[in-house]
């Protein structure tokens, strides 16, 4: 797994805060960049991919942390 362009630390945050933080941070990165969201709330495993689907961003998969990699596509 390649290194992400940015890391967002949401460890210890309860849902829906990690997804809100992701929605705030991703538009600050250039299109094509990869953001890693670190989140240990189990709901993030469902909600980060679901958010990507709803917002047409690309969910790349799980990462260590536990974390989730998202690529900005638009």
């Amino acid at each position: 797994m390649s290194a992400p362009d940015a890391v967002l630390d949401c460890l210890g945050q309860r849902c829906p805060l990690p997804v809100i933080a992701l929605a705030r941070r991703l538009p600050e990165l250039p299109v094509g960049a990869v953001l890693r969201v670190l989140a240990d709330d189990p709901a993030a495993a469902v909600d980060v991919p679901a958010w990507c689907r709803m917002r047409q961003q690309e969910f790349l998969g799980d990462a260590p942390g536990p974390g989730y990699d998202v690529r900005r596509t638009h």
Binding site: R14, C15, D41, P42, V46
Partner: protein, 393 residues
């Protein structure tokens, strides 16, 4: 008639009760039967004196009426002390009865927690469980199911008839056919279906819960078809064909049976009425609440239940906000559960798990109530988003 005097309005005046999938308000017929049976059905039906014989007649009549509604033989039906205990008994008894065939329990990923806890106990005791996934609509993966039930050492299989969380009706008949081909008995948890729609054929064991159809809480049904390899997991006495040890709450059983019959008589008309209200909720919530995911199968679904998730909204905050405005709903969001885990059903479907609301209607639910809910919901969600500072994200 006495029933007529007890109007639905008395039961559901305020708040607007939208959580029938947890417990429907007591059906007027259930209330009437319960009160009568408190007078006539307090004696032990197993004794030989006349009050006991009266109680026995009530129990026999309740069993016959319920069996007839379900289309089963009276001796195949046992009453239990809840839908949960019926589910525990069904799962563990199915495994025990087939322990020589193997120790594998096949179940879907979206079973009720009662089934999952029984499965967990089986695994803790050294048994094995195989979980079969569902698709994004919450529908069983039939290919994976067929493969799983054909595996080595499968003792029994368990499938919920329709999801209590998202309403998706499961392909029970096809799943049962796959089980029949390999001689594996199928247990169907029909708690959300009995009293509302017909249960598809092919199962060997079936359970239901009276409080879901307007009967009292604390009554479950357990049906074991003749010829099924099934053995009670409990210390056995002579009651309920040896399937439910201990004394039944007879007045509650009588009320459950009376209300099931009343509910079943009216089921087709109610299903049509409630289903069109659910269609309206599905359409209006999608159109009028921004960033919402209405989940579950829009067509192959329970008539009375709809679930949706609101992006960026805390499920617990939404629940409380709705409660303050007089709406009682439930939520599968982890933020509302003691376990801190998102609903395993939403997780298995891969849909948004926070900001989740389940709306479920009952016989007393009116169009006006649904309209009030639909009118107020967008504002309530918008207000919560504003408070959380997530508007425009």
């Amino acid at each position: 008639m006495r029933t007529g005097a007890i109007a639905w309005a008395d039961v559901t005046a305020s708040p607007v009760y939208l959580d029938a999938a947890t417990a429907a308000p007591l059906h007027p017929v259930a209330r009437q039967a319960l009160l009568a049976a408190l007078d006539d059905g307090w004696a032990d039906p197993d004794r030989l004196y006349s009050p006991a014989r009266r109680a026995r007649r009530l129990l026999d009549a309740a069993r016959e009426a319920t069996a007839e509604t379900l289309g089963v033989r009276p001796d195949e039906l046992s009453f239990t002390s809840s839908g949960t205990s019926a589910a525990h008994t069904a799962v563990l008894g199915g495994l025990r009865g087939r322990r020589r065939a193997g120790d594998v329990l096949v179940h879907s990923a979206i079973e009720h927690s009662a089934v999952l806890y029984a499965a967990q106990q089986h695994v803790t005791g050294g048994g094995r469980a195989v979980e079969v996934p569902v698709d994004r609509l919450g529908r069983l993966d039939l290919d994976r199911w067929s493969t799983a039930v054909s595996g080595a050492g499968v003792a029994s299989a368990t499938l919920i008839a329709a999801s209590h969380e998202v309403g998706t009706v499961q392909p029970v008949e096809a799943a049962a056919a796959a089980c029949t081909r390999v001689g594996v008995p199928l247990y169907v948890d029909a708690a959300q279906v009995v009293g509302r729609m017909p249960v598809p054929p092919g199962w060997s064991v079936l359970t239901a819960s009276a409080r879901k159809w307007g009967g009292p809480a604390g009554v479950g049904l357990l049906v074991v078809r003749k010829g099924t390899r099934w053995e009670s997991p409990w210390p056995t006495d002579e009651r309920e064909s040896g399937r439910t040890p201990g004394t039944l709450n007879l007045p509650a059983v009588v009320a459950a049976a009376a209300s099931l019959r009343a509910t079943a008589t009216d089921a087709v008309a109610q299903a049509t009425r409630l289903s069109s209200l659910v269609d309206r909720i599905r359409a209006r919530v999608s159109a009028e609440v921004p960033d919402v995911e209405v989940v579950g199968d829009p067509v192959h679904r329970l008539p009375h239940l709809v679930t949706f998730s609101c992006l960026y909204v805390d499920g617990e905050a939404l629940l409380h906000a709705l409660d303050r405005r007089g709406f009682a709903v439930s939520s599968g969001s982890s933020c509302t559960s003691a376990t801190l885990r998102p609903s395993h059903v939403l997780e298995a479907m891969g849909v948004l798990s926070h900001g989740n609301v389940r709306v479920s209607l009952h016989t007393g639910s009116t169009e006006a109530e649904v309209e009030r809910f639909l009118t107020e919901l967008p504002g309530i969600v918008a207000e919560l988003r504003e408070q959380a500072g997530v508007v425009g994200l």
